[in-house]
Amino acid sequence: MHGSQHTGSPYAPHTDEEGAAMLEAVGVDTADDLFDIPPEVQFDDEFGIDSRTERETRRLVRSILDRNDELTELLGRGHYGYYVPSLVDHLADRSEFLTSYTQYQPEVSQGFLQVLFEYQSLLVELTGLEIANCSMYDAATALGEAATLADRVRSVSGHRVLVPDLLLEGRRSTLENYVAGTDLEIETYPTADANVDLDALEDAVDDDVVMVYAENPTVRGTIEERLGAVGELATDVDAMFVLGTDPIALSLLERPADVGADVVVGDASVLGLPTSYGMGLGLFATREDYLRQVPGRLVGVSEDATGRRAYTLTLQTREQHIRRERATSNICTNQAWVALRSAMHAAVLGPSGMVDLAKRGVTRAEALADRVDDLAGASAPVHDRRHFREFVVRVEGPASVVVADLEERGFAVHAVDDHEIQVCVAGVPDDELDGFVAALEEVVR
């Protein structure tokens, strides 16, 4: 076994003889002689980190992660655990996909470029907008990038960005950081029964508004009913209408282009990634008008010297490695491999599969809400709306106690207010939903 020949990095292949020959070729006695580090900043200590065999390392990680409780998660609110088909894991893990770099040499990267082009095409179909980039980090950072785009292309002198009062804290806070270098200010507008309060939004909108943000479905799982009116309010004052959503919801819900959305952001990893502690895939799509102001990488079509169709990263003069401080974003490393997984998952589902998965998000949530509503001590859904994959439940006791009691019975749900919990059906099999209803009945009784 190679590892027995030397100590040190198990992934450096040098034998002693080879190492000696290389040192001689370079003209030094030891590798130490190659380091040009002044003595006063040299590190003469150790990190105190043990080296381990592969097997020992696997056991270590397993033993640490085994401290997590095994719970059935009915959790959503921006991160979802849909079932991911086996094809995705097996083919996305091929070394060529996993271990390649950004496609700066397109002649040897055609396969990845084509997948990213297909991913962009998927988003174009889902949103109805002409341009989709090939990834941002997650929904929150995509929202931040949308705001900086709105800042660059705005035609008004104002500086207000309007977001719903229910916006997830992680998104709100990330957005605040992204606009810190601009004169934009984030303000909230009220929601009514979880959806946009159109009257209140109309009062809030004026000529100083640069951007209006709404989500569909909302963070509480409700489906917006008058998105077109939201879009009109924004358009009337030349503000950018940014819509937050995801590819599964978009398979069924209104097409963003049809409600006047200028930018669509969200988490595209609902397709392709299982529950991953919040790791995501930032969806970013926009209208053709903003093509040269789009953040992130774009894959386009060209041809090669034989005249055959070929793909390449394009419009790179927008990007940081060329444009430096005048770039449209600082993003470099993105989530390309997650975009690959997302595109694969969509392809496995096909159009009927995607629409059916979205429909089940409505029907299963409604069915579960009905069953919960039948329990003494719980009512659901709290909001008199149509729901997508999650909904809020009103409980009589403190929500924190209900959540803790459910956890003891093996179920994880959100506490979202003093007497409100939120549950999500995405990725949860029917028999586990049965178990949840039984557990909730005991807890709220």
Binding site: E96, L98, V124, G181, S276
Partner: protein, 492 residues
Amino acid sequence: MSDPSENQVRYDQARFVEDGHYEPLLAEKDLTRVEIDGDDAESPLPNDLTREALEFPDLSEPELARHYVRLSQMIYGIDTGPYPLGSCTMKYNPKFTEDVAALPSGAVHPDRSERSTQGTLELMYRLQDYLGRIGGMDAVTLQPPAGAAGEFVGIRVAAAYHDHNGESHRDEVIIPESAHGTNFATAALGGYDVVSLPSDEGGRVDLEALEAALSENTAALMLTNPNTLGLFERDIAEIAEMVHDVGGLLYYDGANLNALLGRARPGDMGFDVMHYNVHKTFATPHGGGGPGAGPVGVVDELAPFLPSPRVREADDAESDADETTYELFDPEHTIGKVHGFQGNWLVLVKTFAYIARLGDEGLTDASAKAVLNANYLASQIDYEVPYGPFHHEFVASAGEQDAADVAKRMLDFGVHPPTTKWPEIVPEALMTEPTEIESKATLDRLAAAFNAVTTESDETLESAPERTTARRIDQTTAARNPRLAWQALEDE
């Protein structure tokens, strides 16, 4: 060593190649329109809440498996051959790290209770601790999802720190001309004016120019060390003192940390804040462009400003458990969040596994071998390498040749070329970083590829590559007539 031009490099496996393209798009294989009709009794939503239809390929699993396998065969990865992209640290990605990242016990939702996710929190705590030791930093956040996101945290932390001290007037960030493009873009995103710093004749920070650039308006100096020429900034202690004397902070861009593991630490050099590129230094796969992760380490004084939440050991007086309990907490003056949740978890697990596998001995050896490999390769190539002594990477000059053409021709010899035309301080730059994973034989093959190109005519270079699946691709047309989705091809 045989002449690589005599080798018959072939990239593709047996595949059908159609006239117009190498592999049809999914949409060219099938496009099926599914109508959504709210009047249908089965429909869960009325028409005014739904789209009209969804049009997308409807293909069987075996057809899809072949599609993606064929596409993968048109990609060069680390497991294909050497990948000496300067500044990118394209190391081998150990396979077992994929297995530990896929452990079902690690697949938890970020809104779960701390009590039920002690494993996740312990792994994060231990990784924070590992990274702190390696960088010589007092506190670490794992949240930034990439290196540029880590830079952004650093810039936001610097802004919050100066604001906290009543020094909001500091509006300049100083960056060497040879720095990574992200440094400039990040400073601008944070609202700072960029002050560009020229290099001295030796390719390092020009102390006189630095003296002139520093002022009471300096928020930070962003540096990478070794710099993009692979040179260690020997005056780093003095640079740190100069920056600190005017009240500025010193930021370390961790892109080149693979040169220094176990030999020097940014914290000991006087840096106040740094990011780690775990997809470079700690071998998590680049995945065709991402995901990576860009944890940030800071000195004690800056810890209260880090993003929320971080992980710490809980004050556990009431518990009699044998195991330490971990909890999340918000730093006192936190800048808030730079990611919706906690960053790229799967990447962080792989990072932890890599560091735990190598330990002190492996990490230190990795840097030694990375530096040896760069020096050996440089000694074997005919192109001039104008600056030194370099560490994990070197920048050769293609001289009279066009570096981009040189790169295309190297593809014909079955190796991935270096980064080209950057940093601009070297004319027609070939920025080369072989990393520790290449054997002497592979480096010899790589050197032979470089050397074969040195003697070739411009005509040959301009028509390269000849042996790749796709030949030279016309970049101009792609940008002039942007077609960014298959829907844009339908009219053709």
